[in-house]
Amino acid sequence: MQTGQAEPLFRMEGISKRYGGVTALEDASLTLRAGRIHALLGENGAGKSTLIKVMSGVVAPDEGRMIFDGRDVSFASPAAANDAGIVCIFQELSLIPDLSVADNIIVSDPPMRFGMIDRATQRKLAEDALARAGASDIHPSALVKDLPLSRRQMVEIAKALARKPRILILDEATSALTAADVKKVIDVLKRLRDEGLALLYISHRMHEIAELADDCTVFRNGNYVATYKAGTKTDDEVVELMIGREYNHVFPPKPVRQVDQPPVLECQGLGWIGRLRDISFAVRPGEVVGLGGLDGQGQRELLLALFGVLRGTTGEVKVDGKPEMISSPSKARGAKCGMALIPEDRKTEGLMLPMTVRENLSFAALDRVSNAFGIIDTAKENALIDEMVKLLAIRTAGVDIPVGALSGGNQQKVVIAKWLMRQPRIILLNDPTRGIDVGTKQEIYQLLRRLADDGAAIIFYSTDYDELIGCCDRVLVLYDGEVKRELAGDEINVHNLIASALNISTAEAAARVGGRA
């Protein structure tokens, strides 16, 4: 790339990683040089997270080699990678909530005196690290759990610096920060670059990448796509590099929308402790409305807020035109609202794995199959269960085997069937097809459309852009807890979804919305 440049500090070649049948990384490569900031780009599921997990010793690659400082390396644990000088600031925080800030920063190798941790020296080291991270306002004796999210993130950065890394990986490390902190962090990162560190920077904020990065690498579908010098490509070209998922799903046709019906669900100025901001939209019966955007922009919180799980939400939610205070899931699913939420993690929030298919199916609908004294009418229950097993084509050896014995796809069908037993009018889905096979995905797409045709209003969060394009009548794209764009009809395409997910206005997007973004 450049003449006379020193050997790269770190190189990975031919790295592959599979989880079961799913390929997360295929023949990936990456080169990092000392004194440069390298940005990693890609949409959801592009393989960025897996790549840095491999680099930092959290997962072992199936194939490939890593060369650090001219030597082949492999890391058995995060601690081994840290010792070698590779430190990662993860998106999910690695701080221990009940320990103090100083304890957390000097967690790996505290100063010792008489065989005990020397707290005075530790405190000084922690203060130094906080100062280097530009966060001297944080008291080293404070407990981490008492700090707000943005301060914790700064502690995380100080902790990484205290380990004296040679390669520092930042995975969405600025996503929880305030604007003032972001500026400080950017200054710190530039200083570290000048001190000769190699930095790997992952962010969904394109303007931060534009300000910081020297080199950029794009990943797509677990594959390496391209590396280029920062500033040599336009935003449009970057988006084009990120597009390119193979289309292998068949989606049911979308009917012509009926706009004359009044909305069944309306949301006005919905907010929640800064994680959701001023969200307004309406859904009519028969509509499938998608939630788009990069993972973790408030989509999950929006669904939980609608379903009555979050406390202290602001704004108004109307069902059938009437304001409703939805204060718990049992109220959300009640006759007035008629909601159902298909959760993200079926193993913890959707199913009781050791219990039978029958029991799992009946949980949410017991009041519908029991008499006035709360005694379950077995005949009624069986009839309803049979109907659901047929409707969703759940492949099971019987309804009296544990649901844990079913395949992932069939488990997900049980979760959906469990809620359909209540005949909900508003169906919220939180990434329902993650980790299930292609065949079952198709069946779920068909089912969603059929439910909509029967008059249900569907809100569908998916991290897979193809699904949003194929299934949804409209898509709300979220960014930092706000609806940044609403796409409808032909506007729902990959280019628009990615561009608005990154909150950048490309030429095409700008033309369509008349420069609003």
Binding site: I96, V107, I117, L143, V309
Partner: protein, 326 residues
């Protein structure tokens, strides 16, 4: 000033337990016919230290987000063992004491190994090992009996300098040589960290397995110290099943009173010691107010409920209801 605020926040549970104990003890001595004197303090100390040692043992395990239902049985086993081997001349007696402590530590280490390396739930593992330890105690002492070096026993249960109860002194020494170094060591911190968030501790590269193992082992050691003192007080070994179970349950109560979180990661053995003394004082209070001893369990339950309720207020601040179940 702000320095004090953080210290206070960190020690809140311990200070609360201290406050509860002092309040109860003042009421107790004020109403005691003999008033506040060295003998009353000595009696209270000797009654309290047994539970204090067991509560310290429980604290070490609870900090790692585990629970040890075998502490009471280690206490009985070491008591029965001591009634055989802590006898004879000073040299033999010393060997006996060391032997008792080693057996206690081994019991704790076995619990730790099963929980950490066998990946069994602490509650199940320690119910099972507790039954084993009680079985061994029963084999050692099918009926109450045995003896102990009475010179040593009397020395450790009397008063020093005419006012300081020797048992209390021993407790302080144990805190200084076992608890303080542990809580300030890398392993102690790893034990706290794994109780607070095991994933974060692993991701931070802390020695969580060794930290937890050490916590269980020292827990066994402290229970054995409790067993030794029981022998010094009673001069006999007695595999009393009900007593072992009561100590296990009371140790959990004392730990909770002392501000140690059963979810792990929070609290100190010093808080648990005050919790133990407070718990013991409830019985004494009933005595000076001429209540029937039958009221004791009921009052202990009420005090425990009140103390635990104080710690539950944080739940009102939760903004995402799913966190109630986390």
């Amino acid at each position: 000033m702000s320095e004090w605020r953080y210290w206070f926040a960190e020690q809140r549970g311990t200070l609360l337990a201290l406050g509860i104990f002092i309040l109860m003890f003042i009421v107790y001595t004020a109403n005691h016919p003999a008033g506040f004197n060295a003998n009353v303090v000595q009696t209270a100390s000797n009654k309290g230290v047994l539970l204090a040692f067991i509560a310290m043992a429980q604290t070490l395990v609870v900090i790692t987000a585990g629970i040890d239902l075998s502490v009471g049985m280690i206490f009985l086993l070491t008591n029965c063992l001591a009634s055989w081997i802590v006898v004879g001349n000073p040299f033999e007696t010393t060997l006996g004491v060391v032997g008792v402590l080693v057996v206690g530590a081994l019991c704790g280490a076995l619990n730790g190994a099963i929980v950490i390396y066998g990946r069994l739930q602490p509650i199940v593992a320690t119910i099972a090992t507790g039954a084993v330890y009680f079985g061994l105690a029963l084999l050692l002492r099918p009926t109450p009996g045995g003896s102990v070096n009475e010179d040593l026993a009397d020395a450790l249960t009397s008063k020093l300098f005419g006012f300081m109860p020797a048992s209390l002194m021993a407790l302080i020494v144990i805190v200084l040589v076992v608890w303080v170094p542990f809580s300030r060591s890398v392993y102690g911190r790893a034990a706290y960290a794994s109780g607070s968030s095991e994933v974060a501790a692993y991701m931070s590269g802390m020695p969580i397995k060794r930290g937890k193992f050490l916590a269980y082992t020292l827990g066994g050691l402290l229970a054995a110290i409790g067993g030794l003192f029981l022998t010094f007080f009673t001069y006999t070994g007695d595999a009393a099943y009900a007593s072992g179970n009561a100590y296990t349950l009371f140790s959990i109560a004392a730990v909770v009173l002392g501000g140690v979180s059963l979810y792990g990661g929070k609290g100190s053995a010093i808080g648990a010691i005050f919790g133990a003394f407070a718990f013991r004082t409830i019985g004494d209070l009933l005595f000076v107010f001429d209540f029937d001893a039958l009221w004791q369990p009921l009052f202990q339950g009420v005090v425990l409920l009140l103390a635990v309720s104080l710690g539950a207020f944080a739940l009102f601040r939760v903004r995402n209801r799913l966190e109630w179940f986390g």
